[in-house]
Symmetry: C2
Subunit: 197 residues, 2 copies
């Protein structure tokens, strides 16, 4: 089981860098497996994000709560995705992201401290995280543009294309909190669309 998870994370890394068996072993040693049951938290706002998490099964979500008590979802992380509160993780200061589990989830944790040590010892890992951070940056930019230029209906369609496997897993309320509309309005949009299509 744990072995299978290790294969998953090594395959994920192998998309961008090549590791020797010794480097793989060194890396695996730094990982802490953890199970997060549905509705339990991996991280709370006002905590420091000591780790970055790699999801091997299940699905996490990262969200903030604004001054009016509304949730805004920044990211869903199904299997094979990385997730953390980047601000808190890189600064090691108190953050503002909550990360909890939409369903029972398994992750492998890598601490910032171990990550930085790894960067010193094996520069290929710094390359790997440089690359996935560049890619995250591109997604984040794309999402910002979508929010600025698309209507709610178009953002919903974009979401369905981006997370096709999750549409039937994630409560509608949380999809609404991702695309930036009220749950009521998302419901109305869907009613409209099913009339037409």
């Amino acid at each position: 089981m744990s072995q299978a998870n290790h294969q998953t994370i090594l395959a994920n890394i192998a998309r961008h860098i090549e590791l020797t068996p010794a480097e793989q072993a060194r890396f695996i040693q730094l990982l802490t497996p953890k199970t997060i049951k549905r509705k339990q938290f991996l991280l709370n706002a006002q905590q420091v994000a000591r780790h970055v998490a790699f999801v091997t099964a299940g699905c996490l979500r990262a969200y903030t709560i604004d001054d009016n008590g509304f949730e805004h979802v920044l990211q869903f992380a199904p299997a094979d995705w990385w997730i953390t509160d980047m601000y808190s993780f890189i600064s090691q200061h108190e953050g503002d992201l909550n990360i909890d589990a939409i369903e029972d989830t398994e992750v492998l944790l890598l601490s910032r401290q171990d990550q930085l040590q790894l960067f010193d010892d094996i520069p290929k890992f710094e390359r790997f995280f440089r690359i996935i951070t560049e890619k995250s940056m591109v997604s984040s930019r794309k999402r910002l543009i979508d929010n600025l230029s698309l209507t709610a209906q178009e953002r919903y369609n974009t979401f369905c294309n981006y997370y096709p496997t999750l549409i039937n897993t994630i409560p509608q309320k949380q999809i609404a909190a991702y695309i930036g509309v009220t749950p009521e309005f998302l419901s109305k949009m869907r009613a409209q669309a099913s009339k037409k299509g």
Copy 2:
């Protein structure tokens, strides 16, 4: 003049990594200075972003044009900022960002090819760009949250705090295109605010 620009970029880099004089010289050798006059383009959508630019004087802006012809500004880059079309730069495929000059601007260009070579030769540079990409990611995330949770007036206030030096330099129209409102509405908000304050 060029020497002063080199000092600026070396100081920028020195915030995150320490270079030997030889490494500094190697790096400086890779830079191409360029002047972009007001309203001229550093990059057009449908081009490949071959370079990342470091601004030494003036101010650039990066924006997209959506299907309805509206501009959306992703970033302003005054002196001491880095700017590129990240998607196009890392993939070396055709992008969708335009980058032009708000005022006469001087930049130092580093090509993707030279950057990647530098990463192989001097891993400290990979660290530097890893760090600034992490920080860009944090800003991008913060801006997304602001767009999801704040009113137009609050986003304008946030903008004024984030780019305090630019408020009197940048045309209002382009501030509107950054915070995500029409120029007319920004004008009305300002009229309201000046009545009260």
